[in-house]
């Protein structure tokens, strides 16, 4: 398993390198013909690229411990507030008590019936009852949240990642109503007092904006795997859904997978191996 993932990683990196080799030449040519100095957008050297990013979660490999590690890794690195954290009274005096219903989460554990409410089954195999299912943003191909956003603060990148501009979001929460997966959280309050240790590699958010999983776009661009993948001990794989040779396509070929609420036509990009 590990061997395979290393090989495909090298393959992706290799393709990326070829692409990068060609990029400057193209941009040089185009900027020359226009005669104006355009700001050139080109991927970082070594960035992980895809036509459409997707994720496969092997539910057989997710134990409670692995799931917890994944959630912690993601939330810590993205400065997601933890409402159970005891606030430093000196730094943040008079912090009001929290309402746990207003919590923020990017990736979390759910029972089968909650992760897949449309697959309710009286006689579901018992082992599924206790399994933790990790749920997060599905980076839908037809994302209802992107359509709903009145300012373009939620947008879809060409490579399929649904991202948010925390500085453009007006906090209308239309995207939260639109998301059929409950993947979005709103900052009902300033999240900063509830961050144990701020990771300076990622911005903290202010109150009044929505946030969600960004598939670690900030890491992919540096050629690094998402935090959840790293912490998953091989249970989570991300890759290019449109590349038939990619590792995740091989996984999808070899296993029976399901997606959340497929019938809605949102085309989620997160697959679950059952």
């Amino acid at each position: 398993m590990m061997k395979k993932s290393k090989r495909s990683f090298l393959k992706v990196a290799g393709i990326a390198a070829i692409g990068l080799g060609a990029f400057p030449a193209i941009h040089f040519a185009s900027s020359d013909s226009h005669g104006t100095a355009h700001a050139v957008k080109s991927p970082n050297e070594g960035a992980l690229l895809a036509h459409r990013w997707g994720m496969v979660i092997d539910t057989n490999k997710i134990t409670d411990e692995v799931a917890e590690n994944i959630v912690t890794a993601c939330h810590k690195a993205h400065n997601v507030p933890d409402f159970n954290f005891e606030v430093d009274e000196e730094k943040y005096p008079n912090t009001r008590p929290v309402n746990h219903k207003q919590e923020v989460k990017w990736i979390w554990e759910e029972g089968f019936h909650y992760a897949f409410p449309d697959k309710e089954d009286e006689f579901l195999a018992e082992r599924f009852h206790d399994l933790p299912f990790l749920v997060t943003c599905n980076h839908c191909k037809n994302a209802p949240c992107v359509k709903a956003c009145p300012t373009g603060a939620t947008f879809k990148r060409e490579d399929g990642i649904v991202l948010m501009d925390f500085h453009r979001c007006i906090g209308c929460r239309f995207c939260m109503a639109a998301c059929p997966y409950g993947s979005r959280s709103f900052n009902f309050r300033d999240p900063r007092p509830f961050i144990e240790e701020t990771d300076l590699k990622f911005p903290t958010r202010s109150k009044g904006v929505v946030e969600k999983c960004n598939l670690c776009a900030e890491r992919l661009t540096k050629g690094e795997q998402p935090h959840c993948v790293e912490a998953s001990e091989g249970a989570i794989v991300v890759g290019d859904l449109e590349d038939p040779e990619s590792e995740i396509r091989v996984l999808l070929n070899e296993h029976y997978t399901i997606r959340r609420k497929q019938s809605l036509g949102t085309e989620p990009s997160v697959y679950y191996i059952m």
Partner: protein
């Protein structure tokens, strides 16, 4: 014309001071919300819209209801509505101002509000809602003002008010249709995902709006020398009657579809509202109160003796206004969010601060309405005197 508003009786000023006090209290609480965020509300991750958006939705209906006096008067030359047409238009103005304020107080980042204009997003229904709401507000202010001014000067209103009036009719239908589309176009919300949502919104609007107008007519008759006319109120009450029956019928259709088809994602919400879901029953008494009020109101309006009873009519109208408010204000929004897309049940109730801000928004709307109605009634008194 505005000078009329600063000359009034003691009662008038007491009422104005009362409204200003409510606005002031709400403003203080709003400063807290502005500084500390929407954490002061009862909203949550699962129920991400609450009292503000619910009242917004209801008031869009009240605003749209104003068209029920505009259509008979301008399209059918129904003379008896001549006196109250301006009241319908000004009611729409007051209601729309409240609508816009409710949107603003609901925003997490109100200072970025203009991003909606800076980055117009034609795929978002909110974009169109902003256009029709502001458009309808503008039309009603211009038309109402110009027509009233002409009446004061005892001349014909300037010619271009007519086309604007005609334009305001599709806008009235538009504001509530687009507001319904905000909800019914969302794939994961079984309660709202129904084509009858916009018709149902309109039916409840055409009941609640005119019913509220009838109550306002009673108040005007009591406190001013202007008489809106019993005949006009009678016709209005018939409109309310048809509309509230249509509203109940549409709801019945909804209930039939979800229960007979038995699709869980659609049924769960109505089950929650009418009978409770997995032991959560917070809204059940409210919903039955609402249905009883609207049902009884419909019966009272259907029987001519009861409808013609001058003492009963305002009570009936209040029943319909309150019934529709519970239905749309409490049930429609919470019902859509409970259970959540993952079928968790998180109930919602507004907090004290949330209610205070809501009341302040209502007070602002009523302040505008009071001033506009004072102008209208005074001008009409002057002209007749």
């Amino acid at each position: 014309m505005l000078e009329i508003a600063i000359k009034g009786s003691k009662n008038y000023w007491l009422w104005i001071v009362f409204l200003l006090a409510v606005i002031g209290a709400g403003a203080i609480v709003y400063i807290d919300q502005f500084t500390n965020g929407l954490m002061i509300t009862g909203m949550s991750r699962d129920v991400s819209w609450g009292f503000y958006i619910a009242n917004f939705t209801y008031l869009v209906g009240v605003a749209a209801g104003g068209v029920m006096v505009v259509i008979p008067f301008y399209l059918h030359d129904y003379e008896k509505f001549h006196r109250i047409t301006i009241l319908g238009e000004f009611l729409a103005v007051g209601a729309l101002i409240m609508c816009l304020l409710f949107i603003v107080v609901d925003l997490g980042q109100p200072i970025r509000m203009l991003n909606v204009l800076l980055y117009p997003s034609p795929k978002s229904i909110l974009f169109y809602d902003m256009l029709v709401l502001n458009g309808y507000l503008f039309l009603n202010i211009v038309v109402g003002w110009k027509v009233l001014e002409a009446e004061r000067n005892q001349v014909e209103p300037v010619w271009w008010t007519k086309p604007l009036v005609y334009l305001s009719i599709p806008f009235a239908i538009g504001i509530h249709t687009v507001t319904a589309y905000l909800y019914c176009g969302l794939p994961g919300r079984g309660f709202w995902l129904t084509a009858i949502l916009a018709p149902r919104f309109l039916a409840s609007a055409f009941a609640a709006g005119p019913a509220f107008l009838i109550i306002l007519c009673y108040i005007i008759k009591k406190f001013t020398k202007f008489d809106p006319g019993w005949d006009a109120m009678q016709t209005l009450s018939k409109i309310v009657c048809y509309a509230i029956i249509a509203n109940l019928f549409f709801f019945l259709c909804e209930v039939f579809v979800v229960y007979y088809s038995n699709i869980p994602g659609h049924k769960a919400h109505i089950q929650y509202l009418l009978f409770g879901y997995h032991g959560y029953t917070q809204l059940v008494p409210w919903m039955w109160t609402s249905l009883t009020l609207m049902g009884t109101g419909a019966v009272f309006l259907l029987i001519p003796q009861l409808r013609n009873n001058k003492t009963l009519l305002p009570v009936t109208c209040a029943m319909i206004v309150i019934g529709a408010w519970i239905d749309k204000g409490l049930g429609m929004i919470s019902g859509g969010f409970v259970p959540s897309p993952l079928h968790h049940v998180t109930e919602y109730a507004p907090t004290g601060p949330e209610i205070t801000i809501t009341l302040a928004v209502y007070a602002t709307g009523f302040l505008v309405l009071t001033i506009l109605y004072k102008l209208a009634t005074q001008v009409k008194e002057e002209v007749r005197g």
